[in-house]
């Protein structure tokens, strides 16, 4: 452990390699975190299914490629498929838990996440799967740092989608309706906004974002049916650090988390990487809460 830590200083190129690869992973976390912040802010639901949407997006892209479609076309297909799934889940379950106790929505989405996770385990098998995107590798610093081009593409695509999301929320008719509903659902519905449809669209949009993220994950890294929960926890972590309404902070927190995870995973050993993410989340929660407790407040 200490050896690995010192190694980072002896070989700065290695540190750069780890941090850069981490930043690229972070972009995908950012995408899922956008969705989580959206659903949290508008529906007031902490969506535990988030990670399963990512995982399913990956499997959809995988199936699309196996059906003979161009690999990169898998990204929009995954987004579209997940949009439909998100809409369906909203109509089946989510609308019933919106105004209920927060525990109900956490537990209900947790149940949904078990359903989707186990269904994909039955349908696709428990193997670790990956998809070759057919893009080359980018070499930096005289070949000392190798970056797969698909990861670079994933990075810019994630940031581009984030920008699109921001423009959509700011200027489009539906985006404005979403923001209005987030501010005050009652006032929004008095002004003629169909809040139920806005909720459905928001939830489906979140699923689509996660689906696109999942397609990138399967091309740049790998997926398996049980990969979901870490992604949920990462998006949750990013959102509680960055806050719900701040897109720039979400990007910064997501990229930072990616870099931290990669470097820390190298120092402590990759077998502890997931544990580190979960512990970091607990520490961030406790730390933020302790700061609030000084003012006799708590995280709400």
């Amino acid at each position: 452990m200490i050896d690995n830590f010192l190694l980072l200083f002896d070989y700065p190129v290695l540190s750069a390699d780890l941090a850069l690869n981490g930043l690229l992973i972070g972009a995908v976390f950012v995408l899922a975190a956008f969705g989580m912040a959206l659903v949290w802010g508008v529906l007031n639901i902490i969506n535990i299914v988030q990670g399963e949407f990512v995982m399913l997006g990956g499997f959809v892209a995988l199936m699309a490629a196996e059906a003979g479609l161009p690999v990169l076309l898998g990204i929009p297909i995954a987004a579209l498929a997940l949009f439909i799934l998100g809409w369906g889940l909203y109509r089946l379950v989510i609308f019933r838990v919106i105004d209920r106790d927060l525990f109900v929505s956490v537990l209900a989405t947790f149940g949904l996440s078990i359903v989707l996770q186990q269904l994909s385990n039955e349908l696709f098998g428990a193997d670790v799967r990956t998809l070759e995107a057919g893009l080359g590798t980018l070499l930096l610093f005289d070949g000392a740092v190798a970056l797969a081009q698909i990861k670079v593409l994933a990075f810019f695509l994630a940031l581009g989608l984030g920008l699109l999301l921001w423009l959509f929320l700011k200027y489009s008719r539906l985006g404005q309706a979403i923001r209005a509903t987030a501010q005050n659902p009652r006032a929004a519905s008095i002004l003629g906004i169909d809040t139920d449809r806005v909720y459905a669209a928001t939830y489906a949009l979140n699923a689509a974002l996660c689906g696109a993220a999942g397609a990138l994950v399967v091309m740049a890294w790998a997926i398996h049916p049980y990969i979901g929960l870490p992604y949920t926890v990462r998006s949750f972590l990013i959102v509680i650090v960055a806050g719900i309404g701040n897109i720039g902070a979400v990007v910064a927190a997501g990229l930072g988390l990616g870099a931290f995870e990669n470097v820390a995973g190298f120092i402590f050993g990759t077998e502890y990487q997931i544990a580190l993410v979960f512990l970091l989340m607990v520490l961030v929660l406790v730390w933020r809460n302790l700061r609030l407790q000084r003012k006799r407040m708590y995280l709400k």
Partner: protein
């Protein structure tokens, strides 16, 4: 007097049934043993989730700590089987309670869904750490010492120890819910700020409740580890996806915040699971997820909660005049 005599008769009958069950239906001893374990799970979860209003998704953490502490003690102590198991189980309980008291310093300050997700993170992190730590066998888990005796004696031994543990848990909680402490727990659940304003030491109360819950869970983990015979980090000790979820589900199914609710929920859930799930082959976990969604969305009051609403005269809480 008549009511009291009838109640004593019912208790004596139930006691006889518990004692006789393994001899009446010897084929089902293991199922009965797991039923007692499930009752401990549901009762300890409900102490936090139902009575205190702190919905923990990570109570499985204490079960795992107990299982590992006992197994390590049995491996390294060099004592005989029963001594090592007894001391190991006590050690497991105490360590779990200490872990709850320590973690509670930070975690119990969180409220609502933050507490739920924070504890979920703790439970999974513990499984991942145990899966990488060589001292406790890393990913390949730990085996416990062999039981010195026949197979039938072994099942009876674990049946009675777990039954005793479930009974001890039940009686402790029953006594506790009748005291000032129990009322204080409910006050925190109903409105923590007001409870604090009324002069309750909420931090101490919450820590005490979590430690108590962890103590029983730790002992149950020690016993269950020996009952199962093999401690896998993710599938037995820190089995968040099975035991960890079942705890919550059983307590809600039976009725959160009642004494008998978790017991009823555990029995109904366990029996349903044993009867139906063998026919579902690989699909039982899908069914579990659907069950959670259905219960939480359509039946959040649970069995006892619904009965109380429908028949308040028969099942409602009674105020006793002393």
């Amino acid at each position: 007097m008549k009511g009291r005599a009838a109640r004593y008769a019912a208790v004596a009958g139930a006691g006889l049934l518990v004692l006789a069950a393994p001899f009446l239906a010897p084929a089902f001893v293991t199922q009965f043993t797991f039923l007692w374990l499930m009752i401990v799970f549901a009762l300890t979860w409900d102490l936090m989730g139902g009575q205190l209003g702190y919905n923990s998704f990570g109570n499985i953490l204490f079960f795992g700590i107990g299982a590992y502490a006992c197994a390590v003690f049995q491996r390294d102590s060099g004592l005989g089987y029963y001594e090592a198991l007894a001391i190991g189980a006590a050690l497991g309980g105490v360590l779990a309670a200490a872990a709850a008291a320590f973690l509670g310093l930070g975690i119990l300050g969180l409220r609502g869904h933050y507490f739920a997700i924070g504890t979920l993170g703790l439970g999974i992190a513990a499984g991942e750490i145990a899966g990488g730590w060589d001292y406790v066998g890393a990913g390949s888990g730990m085996t416990v010492p062999l039981f010195p005796g026949a197979l039938a004696a072994r099942s009876l031994f674990f049946y009675f120890t777990l039954a005793a543990l479930a009974l001890a848990t039940f009686l402790t909680l029953r006594w506790l819910y009748g005291t000032r402490f129990g009322l204080a727990l409910n006050a925190v659940r109903d409105d923590e700020d007001k409870a604090e304003a009324m002069g309750l030491y909420t931090a101490r109360l919450k820590t005490a409740a979590w430690s108590l819950s962890a103590f029983f869970l730790g002992i149950s983990g020690a016993l269950a580890g020996n009952l199962i015979g093999f401690i896998d980090p993710r599938d037995v000790a820190f089995a968040g996806a099975t035991y960890g979820v079942w705890m919550v589900l059983m307590a809600i199914l039976g009725g959160k915040g009642t004494l008998w609710g978790p017991v009823i929920g555990a029995a109904v859930f366990h029996i349903t699971q044993e009867i139906f799930w063998t026919y579902l082959l690989g699909w039982q976990r899908v069914a579990l997820g659907l069950l959670i969604v259905a219960i939480v969305v359509f039946f959040p009051q649970g069995i006892l909660g619904t009965l109380r609403e429908k028949f308040p005269g028969r099942f409602g809480s009674k105020a006793e005049v002393q």
